[in-house]
Symmetry: C2
Subunit: 386 residues, 2 copies
Amino acid sequence: MSNIEKIDAILEEMSEAVRNGPVRIKELKEAGVPVVGTYCTFTPWELVNAVGGVAVSLCSTSDKPISAAEKHLPRNLCPLIKSSYGFALTDTCPYFHFCDIVIGETTCDGKKKMYELLNELRPTHVMQLPQDPKHEMSRELWKHEIIKLKKVLEERFGVEITDEKLRKSIELRNSMQAAAMRFYDTATLPVPMVGGKEIMLVSDFLKFTFDYEKSVAKVNELVDAILEAYANGLCRKDISSHRILITGCPMGKSLEKVVDAIENSESPSLVVGFENCGNIKGFCRKVREDIDPIDALTEKYLSIPCSVMSPNDERISLIREYVKKYKADAVVDVILQACHTYNVESYNIRRFLAEEGVPYIAVETDYSQGDVGQLATRFGAFTEML
Amino acid sequence: MSNIEKIDAILEEMSEAVRNGPVRIKELKEAGVPVVGTYCTFTPWELVNAVGGVAVSLCSTSDKPISAAEKHLPRNLCPLIKSSYGFALTDTCPYFHFCDIVIGETTCDGKKKMYELLNELRPTHVMQLPQDPKHEMSRELWKHEIIKLKKVLEERFGVEITDEKLRKSIELRNSMQAAAMRFYDTATLPVPMVGGKEIMLVSDFLKFTFDYEKSVAKVNELVDAILEAYANGLCRKDISSHRILITGCPMGKSLEKVVDAIENSESPSLVVGFENCGNIKGFCRKVREDIDPIDALTEKYLSIPCSVMSPNDERISLIREYVKKYKADAVVDVILQACHTYNVESYNIRRFLAEEGVPYIAVETDYSQGDVGQLATRFGAFTEML
């Protein structure tokens, strides 16, 4: 098997594993494993793992259940929120179906208010997320919320989360983080080896497979194959491509249309990285292993530069860092319709990138396929100018 | 002068005083009085008064500056936020023009993020507002923010806010609160004496006049005239009117169209009260005078049942109370476009009122006059069914 064939094979295997996620969750549930539903990168994964449970990302990226959700929620609301609620309402998300409890956070207005309704469908514990990570009381509040979640999980599942368990979970999560970043950072190779949807697939693989050590090994195997292919002078993608860094709202299945529109531009273009939660934004920082585990979780999760934070300068730092590191030629800001925080923040990102001389485009989109043609036109024009 | 003529005359006088607000602010500014801009009912008015300043409600209710704002802000954002920012950007709000500092709060996503940009135009101090008033840390956080604001104002204006000053300001504000509620509560008379726009005018009068004792006296004079007219068997409004309680987003000048649409229905209808901030929601509770003033402010301002709070059960209690008290036949929920919190919460309000058997309609609108015909049609159909 050639290096390239090996990469292809591993990616295919990952894709199969992601498709198999619902079956695996059913098995875990039947085996008595606590299933904890999450929507956001802010949920401390390690606490769920330390209670012996699996944290599952609840379905939120398809437009199918949106019309059902709109019976209770306004139309003019972020599709991710409507999709999340719609899946729950119609019981069409296997992960929601099997989850014992949902953990939410007071991130954005829409999610915060949607959780009130979701709580009628499944017990929903909402963590109070501070809005300014640098405020003098934010750390105390967030630490309080992390300790509170620990108690909620312990009581719900009748399991004590000892420091030892928590430290082990932190180590495990850090190994996933390291594997994810090692993979994302293959974008530092002079020759592009994977495309945008493949990056999304690997992120999904780490989300929707639950034998974590195996998953970490698989991602590392993929990275090894990529490095070997590169060492052998091979190339899987067009080396002349414009290199695009994506930022903005969470990218799910329905937003592959954006990646397609970019990568199918006449002027060859490739998505080389995602500064989004679930990707670099969520994974770029390890949880410290040299301090009290609760303090370490507090620090890590409070540092995620989501646009709900105000001010959110760290996002600009992160974009700066990864534009440089991944040699991005341009930044594409993907904003879900009616996501006020990312939408307002795009003005700051635009100004910052203009100062840096990095081309930037913001697109507002939803989960429908209605704007596929428009996206193609816009990205066609944008990449042609690069 | 008849009782009715007296009421008319006082209302005309109030209208004139509101129009004169900008001139008065200019005079105050020139006299060296600190001018503090606010956008929200959550700003502790008493602290501004205690520092010797005037708290001015910054312009936010006209669609004129919205197109200018949309150069920096997304189109799909609440008109109140775009209007606020647009007025500041185009320097067309006299209150903004003369204000030394703006006080904002992390209420909704749009405002929170807009304040980041506003801070480039005028120093903007943002208070971290807790999202759940009943959460065990909310009081501590909000008290911290109130003490912090006190320091910010003291430092900015070089004036110490003593407990004595603060207690006096609380007394003054409570006298305004009492006058406002005494006026609103004339809706408990069996005969309606004022209409919706007149209620809005009195609220504006208390906002945009700055000789507070005089304003309180004037409002009380109006109430006396109303009570006298009632005692004399007089009636200023159609007694057969359907009585409407308005709830929802802040009501400003541009939303008089909603009141007009209701009150011009073929089936006679009258707005008898506003469960909105700047009206009942902001004024229904006094600040306690029998405890530490900072604690009293903390308690009062944290209890405002804005939809940004989650859960926000107190709003339902307030609506229940005032539907009963003002004998409302129906509730109209006025939601500004893209205001996610009020928009999502309307589902709860609708269910609650359905249980209570109170007719309810929610309208989503903006500051344009484009939907005036549509509003007339909808309210025509709605009031006909009452």
